[in-house]
């Protein structure tokens, strides 16, 4: 391409790429000044800014692309950013990265260099990195990478002159090649050698993207090679994937990380501090089984036991449920209904034993909402610190020791948020058996956040029951997981996830997340609780409920529970947390001993998933598998409850 014919189209193109929040837009504004336009990228809803600048007498068109994490696009924004790179014939691709997170961002620089595009690197936010005591040897990094590297702090207008100078002196011909492990290189070559057509980016990069099953690149290759040539390419890719039988995507990204580690050696040094920063050390501790598990217990003790159990389920519920509803609101409703409503059935529907107002509204507003509210507050604080992905890594290490598949960690950890959603995520697991195993574990031993909140709130009021419950659930989980893993043959897929930095939670984030969750949760449960109380009322009026309860009474007695507990289990069919709320009523009316409470808590936790989760199981696994899981889970739940009751009575624990 010659310079003159580009000029008619507005000048050579400079394309800014990089993660979100690395100061790309600030650099764009600094380069282009006021002459910018923002428009949708053709055929998409994604906005792209364009502007012009003049450097040493040459005119350039500057494009600011949407944030991207990798050349392998997942979101529409990333797809657009990649399309711009492939379609716009850049004079220079300016990769902007955050100096504080070189290790996380450099792999994309490698990817860009691999494509053969003319890349230069801007290491931005240098000022804050320096404030953290980091020093970055920019010339050394430039030497190692073989492309221009400029240190900058665009917010402080630092480095802008150097960036302009680097653009003016940019040598498009220079480029480095980074080698991967020999077996991987062989695979890449195998695929690259089947490519015959002309491409805008390097064949090696195309081969890598094909091996990672990039749909967009597959289309591109299919169009370029035509059907005849594409068959050969596809065969080569499939042969490699088949031969490897492993996750090439993961392998390639680990390989890139290895190369980056080497590149950064001697480039970054931490001054004034011995070894790592405290946050990094803490991050390592959370993932090491020896320290990570105690840390988890501390979080659970203070976060859940003390705050949710003590404060939420104790103080707040006592106030709302005990004082407000029991003493004022409900008596008032009942007296109004007695005066104004002559019909028994309607009085029952509104203010009776299962009345919409006296049961549904009370459960939702006075019992469940304060408990899950405090729970969501703790959950949001933990979420905002970035602890959850570390928990996933910790669980992964323990899983591996048990011979479980590492990748199942993600849906399992997500299950503590909502099992329904986690059941859907099992889709990402590779084999059907793995998916079924994860689905069973989710249905059985992972309580969703709402149920966990209510159960913990309930049990923490009675000393000892919470310990028994935790040990029991963990045991069931481990035994079933262990047995299931024995049934799954061989391979241990590797699990790896990129960790965002650990940080102090921010008050505003926490508040927004907590309020959002509470609103969403309330909208979800309120109608369900009302419907459930109507159904229960209908059951009572027709006598069906009585029959159901008496049919379940022998089962309750076998578990050592009073017959009335059957109602809580029937509630549990509707919603996990509704069942727990039913248990709460039994306990506050003094009908349960400590042993009975522990047994009921364990059985109810293991017992059926809520309707939504069951429907999701059916959607993902089909009728046969989901009914099978349902039966298995129910039988196991009641057997465990029965066994636990015997054990507790025999040993006298909790007596």
């Amino acid at each position: 391409m010659t310079r003159s014919n580009k000029e008619s189209a507005g000048g050579d193109k400079l394309i800014l790429v990089g993660n979100p929040n690395v100061g790309k837009s600030l650099l764009f504004n600094a380069l282009t000044g006021a002459y910018t336009t923002v428009s949708n990228y053709p055929g998409t809803s994604v906005e792209v800014s364009r502007g012009f600048c003049e450097i040493e007498g040459n005119r350039y068109e500057v494009l600011d692309t949407p944030g991207m994490y990798s050349l392998l696009p997942i979101t529409e924004e990333e797809r657009v950013a990649r399309d711009i790179l492939l379609a716009e014939e850049p004079y220079a691709v300016i990769h902007v990265i955050d100096a504080r997170n070189l290790e996380r961002m450099l792999p994309m620089t490698l990817q860009l260099i691999e494509t053969g595009l003319p890349v230069m690197l801007v290491v931005n936010i240098m000022d804050e990195a320096e404030a953290l005591g980091m020093s970055i040897d920019i010339p050394l990094l430039q030497e190692k990478l073989g492309i221009p590297v400029i240190g900058a702090a665009t917010a402080r207008k630092r480095g802008l002159k150097e960036i302009r100078a680097a653009i003016a002196a940019f040598d498009r011909q220079r480029r480095a090649v980074f080698g991967y492990a020999t077996d991987l290189e062989r695979d890449i070559l195998k695929v690259a050698s089947t490519l015959a057509g002309e491409y805008r980016i390097d064949r090696r990069a195309i081969a890598l993207l094909l091996l990672q099953k990039d749909g967009g690149v597959e289309e591109l290759v299919r169009a370029t090679e035509k059907e005849a040539g594409y068959a050969g390419v596809e065969a080569a890719v499939n042969a490699v994937v088949f031969e490897r039988r492993s996750d090439l995507h993961l392998r390639i990204s680990l390989e890139r990380k290895r190369v980056c580690k080497g590149l950064l050696e001697g480039v970054v040094s931490q001054q004034g501090r011995e070894g790592k920063r405290f946050a990094e050390r803490l991050s390592d501790w959370t993932m090491n089984p020896w320290t990570g598990f105690p840390i988890l217990l501390v979080i659970l003790y203070f976060g859940l036991y003390q705050f949710v159990g003590g404060f939420g389920a104790g103080t707040v519920v006592d106030l709302l449920e005990g004082s407000l509803f029991e003493e004022h609101i409900n008596p008032w409703f009942i007296s109004v209904a007695d005066r104004l409503v002559p019909w028994y059935w309607l009085r029952e529907l509104l203010v009776g034993e299962y009345g919409v107002l006296t049961l549904g509204v009370r459960y939702a507003v006075a019992l469940v909402l304060p408990i899950v509210g405090t729970f969501f507050l703790v959950f949001s604080v933990i979420e905002d610190t970035g602890y959850f992905p570390r928990l996933a890594m910790l669980v992964d290490r323990i899983f591996k020791k048990l011979g479980l598949s590492g990748r199942a960690v993600i849906p399992i950890v997500l299950g503590f948020g909502c099992d329904t959603m986690a059941t859907m995520v099992t889709r990402t697991l590779e084999t059907v058996r793995e998916r079924i195993l994860a689905t069973i574990l989710l249905a059985l031993a992972i309580p969703c956040s709402a149920q966990l909140g209510v159960i913990l709130g309930l049990l923490s009021g009675v000393p000892g029951t919470l310990v028994v419950w935790s040990v029991c659930i963990a045991l069931v989980f481990l035994v079933i997981g262990f047995l299931a893993a024995r049934l799954l043959p061989g391979e241990k897929p590797m699990f790896y996830m990129e960790l965002p930095p650990l940080r102090l939670p921010q008050l505003q984030n926490v508040l927004v997340k907590t309020l959002t969750r509470m609103q969403a949760y309330f909208l979800e449960i309120f109608p369900l609780f009302v419907i459930a109380s109507v159904l229960l009322w209908a059951g009572k009026m027709t006598g069906i409920l009585e029959n159901l309860v008496s049919a379940m009474t022998p089962v309750m007695h076998a578990l050592g529970l009073p017959g009335e507990a059957a109602a809580a289990f029937i509630f549990g069919f509707f919603r996990r947390d509704f069942g727990a709320a039913g248990l709460y009523d039994l306990q506050t009316s003094g009908m349960l001993s400590a042993v009975q409470l522990a047994v009921a808590g364990v059985t109810l936790t293991l017992f059926v998933p809520c309707v939504a989760q069951f429907l999701m199981m059916k959607k993902e696994r089909g009728w046969k598998a989901s009914i099978g899981i349902f039966v298995f889970v129910s039988v196991l739940a009641f057997t465990t409850g029965w066994g636990l009751n015997r054990f507790l009575l025999f040993t006298g624990i909790l007596a």
């Binding site: 993600i410 997340k513 999701m616």
Partner: protein
């Protein structure tokens, strides 16, 4: 918005094709395309409040 699990920047609105199909009356969760985490979709009034602060932070960095 930022995904609460993996910390990556994700679209603000629940994607229609990726809706989980369990929320009555429309999806109120934003499923992260990178890790699958279901982030609660922030209601309008809270979003405006958090946007303002975010913009300020973006200017500083």
């Amino acid at each position: 918005m930022k995904c609460g699990f993996c910390g990556r920047e994700i679209p603000d609105e629940p994607g229609q094709e990726k809706s989980c199909g369990t929320c009555p009356g429309g999806c109120r969760k934003v499923h992260c395309p990178y890790c699958g985490y279901a982030n609660p979709a922030v209601p309008g009034f809270l979003k405006r409040w958090s946007k303002k602060k975010d913009d300020k932070r973006e200017d500083e960095s």
